[in-house]
Amino acid sequence: MTDFSEELIRPTTEDEQGKPCVRSGSGMYFPWLQKHIESIASGGKQEKDFAQTTSACLSFIQEALLKHQWQRAAEYMHSYLQVLEDTDSNKRQGAPEIVWRLGSEILYYHPKSNMETFNTFADRMKNIGITNYLKISLQHALYLLHHGLLEDANRILTQAETWRYGEKSSSQEVLVNLIQAYKGLLQYYSWSKKKMELSKLDKDDYAYNTASQNMLNRSWKTSINLCTLIQIPGVWDPFVKSYVEMLEFYGDRDGAREVLNNYAYDEKFPSNPNAHVYLYDFLKREKAPREKLISVLKILYQIVPSHKLMLEFHRLLRKSDKEEHHKLGLEVLFGILDFSGCTKNITAWKYLAKYLKQTLMGSHLAWVQEEWSSRKSWWPSFHFSCFWAKRNWKDDKTLACEKALVAGLLLGKETRLQQWMAGQWRNSV
């Protein structure tokens, strides 16, 4: 038996499978344990011929796939389908998923495969082994969506949406929600298409009225579809974005705000920077007061100090009347430039040079010292080294000048060594 199929039937046999690892005392599971056990001539139940051939076939398919030999993989796949009639019930249950996974993979890449083949395969696989109906439907729809067949994708999703089997398990429910959300997304696409057309129409036109009526209906359906999923913890960026856009269009600002607040601040959700970005964008469109915007960006700053919105945050803080905001403004600039991906951000350096001067003239030396104390041990070699001086000078002279200015401001007041370094810097520049 291969590791692959082991993995799939593990929920039922995991006690037996888990035990061989007890020796290691860690509960770690080794996919290659089986190989070791097989290497010794062990007694015990021998695998049947059928199991041996199917597992060999499976490994051939995987090998062919990893070597991008689609043709060969398809040939083996043809033989592998017999696994669906395995007498071992464990394996038979796991088989459709493997067949679907490998089969769709082959059909996606195979040079001779086309949309019809894929559709037929997906339709067949959905109905073999009931447990995978929803998953396969969803992937099938995504495949169609990817190829631009929105109508077909919508049809598949609609079929899947109403499908029920046995007791409604939580996993089934989440999948149904996901399917509905994708359906909602499809409706959103056609809605936004309509909106585009509508914007071209004259408002007094008769067609305008019917079109807008249509849009209202769609929007109502879509909101039903989308709103259940985005209550569940997860990353739902495309869904939230489109849902909010539609709510905004119909003037439901409170609803949109609630959705975004929930998405950004619910503790059950992962800390997704985009949630805060969406909220900030929404508030900006709403022309919310500066205080409000700052409070949203403050949280984003704590999560991602390197975000490109931070420069905007700095501008907001600079304009603010509060002194603590001015201080935070300095902190934000230093924070951006801490990151290796931002070292060449010319705007940030410009802002920093300007703001440093401003701060020092405003006799807030303590602020600068506070920020600098934790950075003085590494900023000189991180930003102001000879290597960077030469490189920046070669690539971007403005950047080099801004950096030199900042280096002069920061290092000039400190120890002799740093003065020397600043001197070096100036010389080299």
Partner: protein
Amino acid sequence: MDFPSSLPPSLFVTGPLGQSDVPDLSFMCSWRDALTLPESSPQGSQDSAPHVAKALLWKPDTPGPLPLLPPGPDPWDPGLTAKDLLFRGGYQFRRHPRAVLDVTEQISRFLWNHGDIAFAPLGRLLLENFKLEGAHSRSKTKTVVSVKRLIQDLDGHQPWGCPWAYLSQRQRRFSILGAPILSTSVASILGELLHEELALRWERLLLDDAFTGGALAWVPGRTPGAGQLVYPMGSAMDTLCFQKVSLTPESEPQVLRNPGHIQLRGPVRQVVSRSVQGEALLAVRSEHHCALWKVSVQGQPAPLQVLQVDKGATGISLSPHLPGELVICSRSGAVCLWSAEDGLRQIYKDPETLVFRDPSPWRWADFTAHPRVLTVGDRTGVKMVDTQGPPGCGLLLFRGGAEASCQKGERVLLTQHLGDLGPESLHPMLHLVCTQFSLYLVDERLPLVPLLKWNHGLRSAPLLARLLPPPRPGLPQPLLLAGQGGELQLLHLAGVGASTPRLAGLPQSLPTRSDSLSAFPLLEPKSHWRLQERLKAPSIGLTAAILPPGSTPVLSLFQLSAAGDVFYQRLYLQADPGRNARAPAASWTPQATACCSRWLEALLEVPLVPPVWAAPTFSHRRLLGSFEPQKVEGPVPEGFRRAMAQGRLLQRRDLGLLPPEERPPTPEPGPEDELSERLEAAWEFGAAAWWERRRGSRAGPGKQPKRQKRRTQLSSTFSLSGHVDLSDATSPQPSPDRTLPEARPQPPRTPPSQELTQEPWAQGVPSERQQTLRDYMAELPLCTDTPGRTSAVSSQTPSIQATPSRQHTPRDGTVQQLPRGDTPEGATQLSSQTPSVRATPSRQHTPRDGMVQQLPRGDTPEGATLPSSQTPSVLATRSGSQRLRKKPRMGF
């Protein structure tokens, strides 16, 4: 910096590993990542990009990798296999065969082969109740058993295990009296130790994390095609080799002559190189030391720092931001940051694992996009730690649990920061996390939610990974992933700037070293098997270089195997192999096969590994004799001295004391054999000839080797004499069959009299075992009271030189300054009170602490000679570690 404006949908579930009722949204296929959700305008062109990526393929130029360098002169032994450790009988009723450690067989083998070790301490406990030959009974009040008589009764008449063997009254009494002590104590104490050892070996066989990260590094040189490969060599892996290589797009890599060498004091486990701000740096991790070199533009290494890690280092990483900054992890759970300015700083310490309880002491650390934030990982998860914040705080970046839909029993094996590799590369905030099942990409700005998951399906632990720069602007970046077993996978990672990272096309498997077998000429089975073993040796290093953009990008891939072989493979990028055209399979070129033949010739000249264990050369007669104090000064040492003075071979007759060679009774071939032989001969009308032959063979010397061989197999009480059949000794069976390990004769390198000058038990016992045995024997109270040379334990005996503890605590005064015990116990006690990683700011001229005194010699690679003052200690450690390398089979 850009953050993807819209992340792919994913469910977020918290909980432990392997929660079953959660729908795994990563159930989707590899092409899921190729699918893009249309942005708000559905008519946008979604089709173009994925289709280009779909056809991406790196095509190898030969069906398998080729050896780059001739094999090293030292023999290599594949070590233990599952066969050596597991119980081979199966349970009939199990659905799946189980791995059961074979302690019973091992202990019986041990008692049988090393009875001296197992029973000697007890024997000494009971000594006063026995009367040895010639000794006067010490106490009249105690029952005294005469050993001489007992042995006489036993002598040669007791076939092992025969229930009908004759038992004298004396023996019976002895066994009744002795059984409770002999059986319980030995079995319980030794059995426990043995079980522990076996479990450890088995664990290491399943997962050997020593080489995590890889011990092969590419240090780029002045021109893009030139560079150096840095890797350990030698049987002990303690010589760091700097091999200059020049790469051209058209031809094979050119190896320059005279590689540089640096001799280190311990086996090298990890080699990391990085270029920071134009400076090439090289960091090396061995078991208890970490070292840092700066490599000049000409390729000369200059040592910067050596750090000692008492508890053992598990990982080392170089900073991509600040030159010379590095982070070290220790088995104690401490993570230390070293920089030229601040020296060594412990930034994190937690002996417990991050997410849930896991006994593994493995720790790993790497840098992030923020130079002052590090990732700290263990088997259960990865955490981001701010070195400037309060100690111990930080966010979990990756959690082994339902968040990443991990399976039950899934553990982190490797984490890596996929840092800056140029402007066109992936985001510097991405981290790679590998488990035994899957590969995850995590963005440090969105912790806990993997952006990409790929079920790699490797059949061994993925401990090596390398991300390469994009071969051409706009193309996905290749990520190489290698399993310990030698499997290689190449993943195409796309997603620059504001798009999410995804797989561009199905990952690709690359040829393994075993695939090169077809390039070698046909061999006789024994050599073929040897070659096969060599090619199957675990991978311990991986590195690659992409040549500057020419017409077709060429990827040169280098692998280092545990046998010390460096193999290379060149891969060409086929950006559009054509949808219908099936690319012709690569085939062997005449140059490739010639290269393989040359390599094979050199390999077959390498001597085979000497057997790690041979039957102890010990006879009870002699042991009894040696108890006589007056006889110690007898002719043995004198003969020995005389032989040494004359510089000739020591022969049996020089050691007059030795009893005449003792031959256990050889079972004569049964009459049936003779009869059938004779009948066969008669059938062919050759009865007379047979008779003649038989008479001749009885009288002649032709019979001799056969007898000798049989004798070696039969008895463990034979004395190894000077005239062991040499043909037997030099070509022992390399076969994995260990049913008769005692049949392997010891190579005649050691004089046979050695057993008299050294403790008998220490001989032939692998050095690792010796420590275990010493621990065991240290528990027995009598061990130090016995007269010096008799046997067993005394930590002052010279035999301790072979123990692994010696290896890292060289006695050399210039090296060792720490107050440490001689035994590992002493060392651990000490280190638990002190910070487990020590460093001294060693500028070459101010060695404040002797221990740091330039462990790496700062010699240029060309001038690889060592200063004479240093040589002896280096050599001593070298030989020690060489012994360690000989992985003993559990043949006792």
